[in-house]
């Protein structure tokens, strides 16, 4: 009788046990799904999920389906470190995320020590200066973006003085430290240098300081929600000078949150679903169909990261983390070969990404691309 029950249990188990780990490859996404980075993190996660669904529908990577797990860091560096460690303990092939530069800086050594490649959304210049060969960006290094924007201040806006408003975290401080020397090199004075806090709600005092600074234009370098709050405060205080930003200020979520206050905002964007690039259009349509809202640049970053991992892994012929790391350095992926990469993209020897970027303006609540800028090192 015991043998009968054992046989029944064994037989049942055979049917109810899910597909074994052998049939899947695990990717853990460590991301800001709440806290100050919730907007960026949610877009990043949704972009990843979209890519995973598409790749799995086409058979996965070498026939293995991707098993994606998301851990919410609450935009907290301590939680991020714990989540990255957990991801490694669970045997993730690659760590995806986080998006905010501060939590990346606080956690990247853990993945490096474990020899696990990490694809992140951060823009802070310092991230790829630390000699971590396992770190790969999905967005332009802010140190590469700022000279383009400084040229624009000088050549297009004919600006003599700029008020700089930045968020006091790794992302904001890195942007501020990259931008101010670039402005000064071009003979543009810094009329005000205003630090704000991550998660800050009230920007009235900052907007009033900007208004009274006498600057010809304002450079705004804040995270998404703070960007929207600043734009609303700027409108409320009647600031009529050009408001210029880099990627986040012109993001879809910022435009949605700021409403009318976003109209007229100008700047440089590394990625945009509004860019006249066929790949972005098809991504945007798929994202909109799945999530019923328009992706910002973070959605594209998450999406293309997964496709880059698939491409490099298939090039290696195995799920070897060390080989993936080596292959990613210097890889160039074209949308002709891999449509999921959306735009011609390459990674250099320190993990910085290079692709075309865009100058844009917000008109009638929509981001309009005004110029395509070439790759830094085509």
């Amino acid at each position: 009788m015991k043998a009968f029950f054992a046989a029944v249990l064994l037989g049942t188990a055979t049917f109810v046990v899910p597909a074994s780990a052998e049939d899947t490859v695990k990717l853990v996404d460590v991301v800001e799904l709440s806290g100050a980075g919730a907007t960026a993190g949610t877009n990043w996660r949704n972009g990843i999920d979209l890519a995973v669904a598409e790749i799995n529908a086409k058979g996965g990577i070498f026939g293995k389906k991707i098993e994606i797990v998301h851990y919410d860091t609450q935009t907290n560096p301590g939680n991020t470190r714990a989540a990255v460690q957990r991801a490694i303990d669970e045997g993730t092939y690659v760590v995806l995320g986080p998006v905010f530069s501060g939590p990346i800086g606080a956690s990247m050594q853990i993945a490096q020590k474990a020899g696990v490649p990490q694809f992140v959304g951060g823009e802070a210049a310092s991230l790829t200066k630390q000699g971590n060969p396992y770190l790969f960006r999905s967005s332009l290094n802010q140190a590469d973006a700022m000279p383009k924007l400084a040229n624009w201040f000088r050549d297009e806006l004919k600006t003599k003085s700029v008020a700089v408003v930045w968020v006091n975290n790794d992302f904001g401080k890195g942007g501020r430290d990259s931008m101010i020397p670039e402005l000064q090199k071009r003979g543009i004075a810094v009329a005000a240098d205003i630090a704000t806090e991550s998660g800050q709600a009230d920007f009235a005092a900052d907007a009033i300081k900007v208004k009274n600074s006498g600057a010809d234009a304002v450079f705004v370098y804040l995270n998404e929600e703070e960007s929207a709050r600043f734009l609303r405060a700027a409108k409320q205080q009647g600031i009529d000078k050009p408001l210029v930003g880099e990627t986040t200020l012109l993001g879809a979520k910022v435009i949605e949150l700021a409403g009318d206050a976003a109209n007229g905002v100008k700047g440089h964007v590394g990625l945009s679903v509004d860019a006249p690039i066929a790949g972005f259009k098809s991504f945007s349509d798929a994202f909109q169909a799945k999530y019923a809202y328009k992706s910002d640049h973070n959605g594209i970053k998450g999406y293309t990261s997964v496709w880059a991992i698939k491409t490099a892994t298939e090039k290696n012929g195995s799920f070897d983390r060390e080989a993936l790391m080596k292959t990613m350095h210097g890889i160039r992926i074209s949308p002709k070969d891999v449509p999921g990469i959306l735009i011609e993209t390459k990674w250099n020897d320190v993990g910085d990404v290079d692709r075309e970027s865009f100058l844009a303006e917000v008109k009638d609540g929509k981001q309009v691309i005004t110029k395509i800028l070439p790759m830094i090192a085509p």
């Binding site: 205003i194 630090a195 709600a201 009235a204 405060a233 409108k235 409320q236 009647g238």
Partner: protein
């Protein structure tokens, strides 16, 4: 000079909203002798409920606003008193204070999971634009927020001081036992106090959310600012909460402009310490009640 005028008006507008929230601390203190640590979340939630009613029930915004206000009054006016304050107060004020901390977490996480972890735009109910005051361009919205909030507080003060119902509320707060002997329906008066608190919190929520965006975490800094305002103004007086709100709003804005954004939270906290050390009854509070 222009900058100072603009900062003062922006500070008064922010302070008026803090005052609306701070009154909640004074009302709960007067009726229950405890601190409602969920007061910040009381200001956060109505805007989230209104957006949820609009987005999930597909109601026009104004209808959603009415539905959200009614639901909030029922849940966090009546429900807060009936299902949390009444049962917990029997066990002392400390368990009640701890229960409000738990409520604050529940409200925050509920808003995050039930609606969104992301900030959302909240339509403004006051006009936008800029007007000139003594030569300085000042935000029309700041003025409107200030006027609406102060009007609500003045109306409450007049209600408490000049109407029979208001005076019975005061009597209940001062000595519920004697009030009961005099035939006042004490329970009903306490319920009214909680409903007024919920209504003021909802008003603060609708005024502040267009500026700060509606987000589940908004209660954290609003609650702290309102708490400081209540201490600075006087925990046992509605007009104290008003004065404290203005002081904190002004200090907050002036610190952000002339010290740094990083210290804008620290300066009001330093003010709190100074008041606790040197004027514990607050600007307009009554000393004898604070020493009970």
């Amino acid at each position: 000079m222009d900058q100072l005028i603009q900062l003062l008006i922006a500070g008064l507008a922010t302070g008026a909203i803090y005052a609306l929230a701070a009154i909640g601390f004074t009302l709960v203190w007067q009726t229950s002798q405890t601190i409602n640590f969920a007061q910040g979340e009381f200001v956060m939630l109505p805007a989230i409920l209104a957006l949820a009613a609009r987005d999930l029930l597909h109601l026009p915004f104004w209808v959603a606003l009415i539905v959200a206000t009614a639901a909030f009054l029922a849940l966090f006016g009546f429900g807060f008193k009936r299902f949390l304050v009444d049962p917990m107060l029997k066990h002392g004020v400390l368990p009640l204070a701890i229960a409000t901390m738990a409520l604050s977490i529940l409200m925050k996480e509920g808003a995050k999971d039930g609606y969104s972890a992301q900030a959302a735009q909240f339509p403004s109910m006051v006009p936008e634009g800029v007007v000139s005051i003594v030569g300085a361009a000042v935000s029309l919205r700041d003025i409107a927020v200030f006027v609406v909030a102060v009007a609500a507080i003045v109306a409450l003060q007049l209600f408490v001081d000049r109407t029979r119902l208001g005076r019975t509320m005061q009597a209940t707060a001062q000595n519920p036992t004697v009030a009961r002997i005099l035939g006042i329906r004490v329970e009903r008066m306490i319920l009214l106090t909680f409903l007024i608190n919920a209504a003021l919190a909802a008003l603060a929520s609708y005024l502040i959310s267009p500026i700060y965006l509606a987000k589940f975490s908004n209660g954290e800094f609003i609650g702290l600012s309102a708490f400081i305002a209540a201490i600075v103004g006087g925990f046992n007086q509605v007009r104290g909460a008003l004065a404290g709100g203005f002081v904190v709003g002004l200090v907050d804005n002036l610190a952000a402009a002339y010290v740094s954004s990083g210290y804008r939270t620290a300066v009001p906290l330093a003010l709190l310490v100074v008041f606790i050390l040197f004027k514990p009854e607050g600007l307009l509070g009554r000393r004898e009640e604070r020493t009970v």
